[in-house]
């Protein structure tokens, strides 16, 4: 998107600043979560520490924030979203409350999931965020069903379905895309391609031309975009979402990005070349957006203020999470099923 007149530049700059704010909030949220997750899980050679406040596997989307921010900027609160194990960014960008999210990561009763899900299952149904998922590609059929339901109910809601580059090698990817296409469902599939599937470079495990080509093979229009350029993601998503809202059926966005951190927070990612990481950091989405903001005439002070506000918001969320109480043990027996509730043995 090119802006040339000063007025256009200014409005463009304001729009980018709002995207930047979302990215800065995600970054601050995940930095704080990472900090609290030291010793969270015994894996990748790390030992676990019972004192870790954020327990279990914590998958960070650091460096991938532009995908969540750019796509979700084009969604309404009434639209739906399904996510992956790496879902903090999607959840936050869809409008979830960061205090409830942080409380969830800390395993608090006030968490978005009452402390029952943690990072890997973070969700906020109130903003249409139907859940992160611990099973790779499992969000795809659920997204397709939510879209099918919207169509049956005559709702105008659309569904954004996020998944990783590794997920395209699971069966539900084929099944879900085919299903969305034959029923012409309102789904935006977003392949967030960070080049890794846990410790494995996804490329070596993926035949053919990759995600977008596979989508086209099933008849879905597919765009590939620089997933670190939030304006590019936003523009591509805007176009695809407009087509979906106009009844154009499912669309596919392949966003190229990079997983800056390890697979989980305790993973030092020693299996990859440090040079590759350093090169990727050159195109960090916040850094790129900051440069663009300056070029569009947004004062440095406003960018710094956006960073400071994001940090302050997350510090408050962390403080609230520290102070919040854990769930009562009896909560372990709530919200399982109504039929036969009480019959646990």
């Amino acid at each position: 998107m090119q802006a040339s007149t000063p007025a256009a530049n200014a409005s463009h700059g304001e729009h980018l600043l709002s995207l930047y704010r979302t990215m800065a909030r995600i970054r601050a949220f995940e930095n704080a979560a990472e900090e609290a997750s030291r010793g969270s899980v015994a894996a990748f050679g790390a030992t676990s520490d019972a004192a870790a406040l954020v327990r279990g596997p914590l998958h960070l989307s650091t460096g991938q924030e532009a995908v969540a921010a750019g796509v979700c900027a084009n969604l309404a609160r009434s639209d739906y979203l399904t996510s992956t194990h790496r879902g903090h960014g999607h959840t936050l960008a869809k409008g979830a409350d960061t205090t409830a999210m942080m409380c969830e990561l800390f395993g608090r009763a006030a968490g978005s999931n009452k402390g029952k899900g943690g990072s890997m299952h973070i969700a906020d149904f109130g903003v249409g965020m139907l859940g992160a998922n611990g099973v790779v590609a499992a969000g795809i059929p659920i997204a397709v069903g939510a879209a099918h339901s919207a169509k049956i109910r005559g709702s105008r809601a659309i569904v954004a379905c996020f998944f990783g580059d590794g997920a395209i090698n699971r069966g539900p990817f084929l099944e879900g895309l085919n299903w969305a296409k034959i029923f012409e469902l309102p789904v935006l599939f977003v392949c967030e391609d960070n080049r890794y599937s846990a410790t494995t470079a996804t490329d070596a495990m993926t035949a053919g031309e990759g995600a977008a080509a596979r989508a086209r093979g099933i008849g879905l229009p597919a765009e590939t975009v620089d997933g670190n350029d939030v304006l590019a993601v936003d523009a591509a998503a805007r176009e695809l979402v407009a087509r979906i809202r106009a009844g154009g059926g499912p669309q596919f966005l392949h966003a190229l990005t990079y997983r800056v951190k390890g697979h989980v927070s305790v993973d030092a990612a020693a299996y990859r070349d440090q040079g590759e990481v350093e090169q990727a950091l050159e195109s960090d989405p916040l850094k790129l957006a900051g440069q663009r903001l300056a070029a569009l005439g947004i004062a440095a002070g406003r960018i710094a203020a956006a960073d400071a506000e994001a940090r302050a918001e997350i510090e408050a969320a962390v403080a609230a999470a520290h102070a919040a109480r854990p769930p009562e043990p009896a909560e372990a027996y709530a919200d399982i099923q109504d039929t036969g509730a009480g019959q646990w043995r």
């Binding site: 029952k116 139907l130 059929p141 099944e175």
Partner: protein, 324 residues
């Protein structure tokens, strides 16, 4: 009315009463391969009786997405064996959703997973896996044995707010019986199918009919067997079963599914723990169901076999009692 028609009627009534009820799966538009969806697409249209690709994971996963967003899907899986292609969607998604998201959503879906040895269908179309699903918190597991119960329990399952694994038996589709509307059975309620005083025999699904035949013959030989049709596997009707077993002081459980780690073990163990009475299990051998009739028969429990087990148990239990 037969067992398949009874289900069809229950579904049709639910769809008439509630626009949120939809059915989806392979071949439902042409009535389902067992006729259990006959006429529904004509009445309700292809948007609500949805023919799907052969995509079991997405049939079940899409149903989860539908259920979360305001529909009440009835999911056709043809046979439980194929539902294994959707096991993540049943176990990790449908069953866990409400709990792991802290009660934010509900998954009111009915997954129809027919079970049972079905003449000559061999190892991959004949399994009875109710115990697998009974093991999963979040699921209700139902196994109707009669046309009346297929009508009543499918009605109840569709009205249920929890995910229900609904296991019809493939050899019962053509079974004729009276069906009285409105619905008479609730989920979680067993039924005394035959009253008796010497022994309690708990069973479900097609094995009920074998059990009733065996009980009839036992009666002619002076043994009074109370037969309980469990109907809902989870939550199972402990009260009715334990009340009966406390009276008869002997509990036998019979099911077509493999005996080892079968659901009968759960019932027998509970009766032994709670009442301290002799218990016995009769279930399928832990062998795949073979094709040839002789092999298939080896996987079945016949009425004469069951009668033999009833008599042995009665004698064995008496011996143990007199030794005590």
């Amino acid at each position: 009315m037969n067992y398949a028609q009874a289900a069809c009627q229950a579904l049709a009534e639910a769809m008439r009463a509630d626009a949120r009820v939809v059915a989806l799966g392979e071949d439902v538009g042409t009535g389902g391969v067992f006729g259990q969806y006959r006429g529904l697409q004509q009445e309700f249209g292809a948007a609500r009786v949805i023919d799907t690709p052969i995509s079991e994971a997405t049939i079940m996963g899409a149903a989860v997405g539908m259920a979360l967003t305001g529909l009440r899907p009835v999911v056709e899986m043809r046979v439980v064996d194929f539902a294994l292609c959707a096991i993540d969607e049943i176990v990790n998604q449908a069953a866990k959703n409400r709990y792991m998201f802290g009660g934010q959503g509900r998954v009111p879906l009915v997954a129809r997973l027919p079970i049972g040895i079905w003449s000559g269908s061999a190892a991959q179309h004949s399994q009875s896996l109710e115990a697998w699903f009974a093991h999963i918190p979040g699921l209700v597991v139902v196994a109707p044995a009669t046309p009346q119960d297929n009508y009543s329990l499918l009605t109840a399952a569709i009205a249920c707010g929890d995910p229900v694994v609904y296991m019809e038996h493939k050899e019962l589709w053509g079974m004729q019986g009276e069906v009285a509307a409105p619905s008479s059975a609730a989920l979680g309620q067993a039924r005394v199918a035959r009253a008796g005083s010497d022994m309690t025999l708990v069973t479900w699904s097609r094995m009920l009919h074998t059990a009733l035949a065996a009980a009839e013959q036992a009666a002619q030989q002076g043994l009074s067997v109370e037969v309980i049709d469990l109907r809902t596997i989870w939550p199972w009707d402990r009260e009715l079963v334990l009340e009966s077993a406390a009276r008869t002081r002997r509990l036998l459980v019979a099911h077509e599914s493999v005996q080892a780690a079968g659901f009968g073990a759960e019932i027998a163990a509970t009766a032994a723990e709670e009442l301290g009475i002799p218990v016995k299990r009769v279930g399928g051998a832990r062998i795949p169901v073979g094709y040839a009739r002789a092999l298939e028969d080896a996987a079945r429990i016949s009425a004469p076999q069951l009668l033999q087990e009833i008599k042995l148990f009665a004698n064995g239990a008496d011996r143990r009692r007199s030794m005590a």
